[in-house]
C-alpha cells in the first residue's frame, strides 16, 4: 500500500489554515523536554496537526501509574522508553517527520545548544526547578516557550514570548539563580505549603495532599484535565507557529478549573494574584529572624488546614 502524502494526511486542516500557514507548521521544529502526561499528549497533537520536526527528551520508561493519563502508555508499551514509543507513533502519523530522541537528562550546556535550533520549547518534566531554568534559557535565546502547569483538575497554560514577563511572575517562584538552589527550596516542607491551593482549587483529596507534603508521593492527575490543558497548550503553539491567531501569552494566561476556563492577567484581580503575593511575601519573611516563629505558626496552620480539609470532604455529597 502506498503511503499517502502530506496534503492528503492533513487535508482537513486546509479548511482552517491556508497553504502558507500549513507550510509554516510543516517546517517548524519543537523541543519537548519530558514526555509524560502533558509532553506526550502535546507531541501527538502537534504531529496530528502537521508539525513535522521534533526533538524529544525523556529518560523514563512507561510504568503502571502512567496508564491513567499518558497517551502512549499501553499494556504493550509498559517498560519502554517514553520518547522512543512516541517517536514510533509520530512516524506512523506522519512518515516524513523527523524525530530526534535524547533518552537522558539534559545538561545546561546541551540545553543552550538545542534551544536555538527550534521554534518552540516545551519544558514538560515534572521538575518545576528545571522547567524554570528552561524558560529562562528560552527567553534569553529568544525562542517562544509553552507553559503548562497541571495539578489535579487545575492548570495554568500560556506562551512565554522572549519579551514576556517571566514564569516566576506567573507562579510566584522566587528568583533564585541556580537550579540547585531552586530545587532545594521547592522541596523543603515550608515551601511546599505554598501549594495549599491544590486542595480547594485542584480538588485534591486532603489525605492524598497530606501524603504529598509529608511523604513526597507523586502529584494527583486525571486524564480529562491533563488532556484538556495539553490540547489548549498545543492550540497555543499552533497559534504561534502558524500566525493565524494571537496567542495567549504572558502576562495573560489560561486558568483552568472544573467549572470555568478563564484568561487571567499577572497582577489582575484574581485568586492567583493573591497566591503569588502570598508566596512572595512569605519567602521574604522566611529569610528574616522571624523564621522560627513563622515555622511554628505554620505547623499550627497545617493542622487546622488538614482538619478543615477533612470537614470539607465529609460535607461533600457521597455517592450512594
Amino acid at each position: 500500500m502506498s503511503i499517502p502524502d502530506y496534503q492528503e494526511l492533513f487535508l482537513r486542516n486546509y479548511g482552517i489554515f491556508t497553504q502558507n500557514e500549513q507550510e509554516r507548521l510543516r517546517s517548524s521544529r519543537v523541543l519537548i523536554i519530558g514526555c509524560g502526561g502533558i509532553g506526550g499528549t502535546v507531541a501527538i497533537i502537534l504531529a496530528r496537526s502537521g508539525v513535522s520536526r521534533f526533538i524529544l527528551v525523556e529518560f523514563d520508561e512507561y510504568g503502571f501509574s502512567n496508564m491513567n493519563r499518558q497517551i502512549a502508555c499501553f499494556t504493550d508499551t509498559l517498560g519502554r522508553n517514553k520518547a522512543e514509543v512516541l517517536r514510533e507513533q509520530i512516524l506512523k502519523i506522519n512518515p516524513e517527520a523527523q524525530v530526534e530522541v535524547y533518552p537522558e537528562l539534559l545538561t545546561h550546556d546541551r540545553l543552550s545548544e538545542l534551544i536555538p535550533k527550534v521554534d518552540m520549547v516545551f519544558p514538560a518534566a515534572d521538575d518545576l526547578a528545571f522547567s524554570v531554568i528552561v524558560f529562562r534559557e528560552a527567553q534569553r535565546l529568544g525562542v517562544p516557550a509553552l507553559l503548562i502547569f497541571p495539578s489535579g483538575t487545575w492548570a495554568n497554560v500560556c506562551i512565554l514570548m522572549p519579551e514576556s514577563p517571566p514564569v516566576e511572575d506567573i507562579e510566584g517562584v522566587p528568583k533564585l539563580g541556580s537550579y540547585d538552589e531552586l530545587k532545594d527550596m521547592l522541596e523543603i516542607r515550608k515551601y511546599k505549603f505554598g501549594t495549599y491551593f491544590y486542595v480547594p482549587f485542584a480538588d485534591w483529596r486532603i489525605d492524598y495532599y497530606r501524603a504529598f507534603v509529608e511523604e513526597n508521593i507523586s502529584p494527583a492527575h486525571i486524564a480529562p484535565s491533563v488532556w484538556l490543558c495539553s490540547s489548549l497548550g498545543s492550540l497555543e503553539v499552533l497559534k504561534v507557529l502558524s500566525g493565524k491567531w494571537k496567542p495567549v501569552a504572558s502576562p495573560r494566561y489560561w486558568n483552568i478549573t472544573t467549572n470555568a476556563i478563564r484568561i487571567n492577567r499577572i497582577g489582575g484581580l484574581n485568586l492567583q494574584t493573591l497566591l503569588v503575593w502570598q508566596r512572595k511575601i512569605m519567602w521574604r519573611l522566611f529569610q528574616t529572624r522571624l523564621s522560627p516563629i513563622l515555622e511554628w505558626g505554620q505547623e499550627i496552620w497545617w493542622k487546622l488546614f488538614v482538619a478543615w480539609g477533612h470537614y470539607r470532604e465529609r460535607r461533600e455529597k457521597q455517592p450512594k
Partner: protein, 314 residues
C-alpha cells in the same frame, strides 16, 4: 493478562474517593459513532478507569482521518474503527469489557442499548442521527453528553430530562428522522451553518465546497481533543457526582481559539427557527431565489474580508 486496577489508576485516588472510583469502574458508557470524537473519548474514559463500554458504529480509517483520530496511523488505514477502538480500550485496561456493534443501531435497538448504560455519548457525523439518540436518551431518563467540534468551534454540554433539549438549543425543527435528514442535508441548512466561518475560522473557499457537498467538515486536532477532554470531564462529573455538570443551556464553548464557560446562543436558535418557519414549507420554496441572492452577497463579502486578512499576515 490482568493488571491490578489500583496500580493502574493510582493517581486518580488523589482526586476521587474509593467510592467514587468504584462508581467510575462499574459504570457503563454507550458511545455511538465513528467520528473522531467517539474514539478519543473512549480512550480517555478507559484511562479514567471506566470498565464497561458499549461502542457502535461503522467505517474504516482513511488518510483524511490522520489529522485528528487517535487510532489512525499509517499501518491502520483501512482498518475497522470499532474493532481498533475496542483493542485500544483493552490495551489500556485488559480487564475492561467492550461490546462492539458494527452497525448504527436502529431505533428499537437504540432503546435496548440505552437501557443498559449510565451515560450516552452520541458521536455520529450525521447530526440528524445524533438528535435521534438525544431524544431516546431523554425519554429513558439517561444523561447524554454533547461533544460537537467543527473547525475551531466546539460545544460541550450535558442533557438530561430536566434540561433544555438539543432541538431547543440548536433550533433544530421537531421532525422525525427522515424529515431531519432531509433538512440537515439541504443547502439551506448548510447555509445556516455560516457560523463555521465567523466563529469557526473556516476558510471561505472550503466552506463553499462544503456547501456544495464536495468537501468534508474542516477539523483541527487540538480543538477536537479539547472538546473531547471537556466532554470526558463532564462524564466524570455525571458519574461521580463530585462536581455539578454543565447542564444545557449552559455549555463549554470553543470559538476562534478561545474556550469559555458559556450559554447556547439565542441568536442562532431563533434565527434558525425563524428560517425554518419561513423557508421550511409551502410558500418558502419560492423564496429560495431571494436566499440565493443573499448568500451570494454574503460570500462575496466574506471572501473580500478574508483576502484582506491574509494580506496582513507576515
Amino acid at each position: 493478562m490482568s493488571l491490578p486496577y489500583k496500580a493502574l489508576f493510582e493517581r486518580n485516588y488523589g482526586i476521587f474517593t474509593e467510592k467514587q472510583q468504584e462508581l467510575i469502574r462499574s459504570s457503563t458508557v454507550l458511545i455511538i459513532g465513528d467520528s473522531g470524537t467517539g474514539e478519543t473519548i473512549a480512550s480517555l474514559l478507559a484511562r479514567c478507569g471506566v470498565e464497561h463500554f458499549i461502542v457502535a458504529g461503522r467505517g474504516t480509517y482513511t488518510a483524511g482521518d490522520m489529522n485528528r483520530q487517535i487510532g489512525c496511523f499509517t499501518d491502520t488505514i483501512g482498518e475497522n474503527k470499532i474493532t481498533r477502538m475496542s483493542q485500544t480500550i483493552l490495551n489500556i485496561n485488559p480487564s475492561a469489557q467492550v461490546s462492539p456493534y458494527h452497525e448504527l443501531p436502529t431505533e428499537e435497538e437504540l432503546v435496548s442499548l440505552i437501557e443498559q448504560c449510565d451515560v450516552v455519548i452520541p458521536a455520529v457525523d450525521d447530526l440528524s442521527y445524533n438528535v435521534l439518540i438525544f431524544r431516546a436518551a431523554r425519554r429513558q431518563g439517561k444523561p447524554a453528553v454533547l461533544c460537537l467540534p467543527s473547525g475551531s468551534i466546539g460545544w460541550i454540554s450535558v442533557f438530561t430530562q430536566d434540561t433544555d433539549t438539543i432541538e431547543d438549543v440548536f433550533g433544530v425543527p421537531k421532525l422525525n428522522y427522515k424529515g431531519l435528514q432531509r433538512v440537515v442535508h439541504s443547502r439551506e441548512y448548510r447555509c445556516a451553518q455560516y457560523n463555521f466561518i465567523t466563529a469557526g475560522d473556516w476558510r471561505v473557499d472550503w466552506f463553499w465546497d462544503y456547501f456544495l457537498g464536495k468537501r468534508p467538515l474542516a477539523l483541527l486536532c487540538s480543538v477536537e481533543w479539547m472538546t473531547v477532554s471537556l466532554a470526558a470531564l463532564e462524564v466524570m462529573k455525571v458519574i461521580t457526582g463530585k462536581w455539578k455538570p454543565k447542564l444545557a443551556p449552559k455549555c463549554w464553548y470553543i470559538r476562534r481559539g478561545k474556550v469559555s464557560s458559556s450559554h447556547f446562543g439565542l441568536f442562532i436558535k431563533w434565527h434558525r427557527k425563524l428560517g425554518w418557519i419561513i423557508f421550511g414549507q409551502g410558500i418558502g420554496i419560492h423564496l429560495h431565489k431571494l436566499t440565493h441572492w443573499f448568500w451570494g452577497t454574503f460570500f462575496r463579502l466574506i471572501r473580500y474580508w478574508q483576502k484582506n486578512l491574509e494580506r496582513w499576515q507576515p
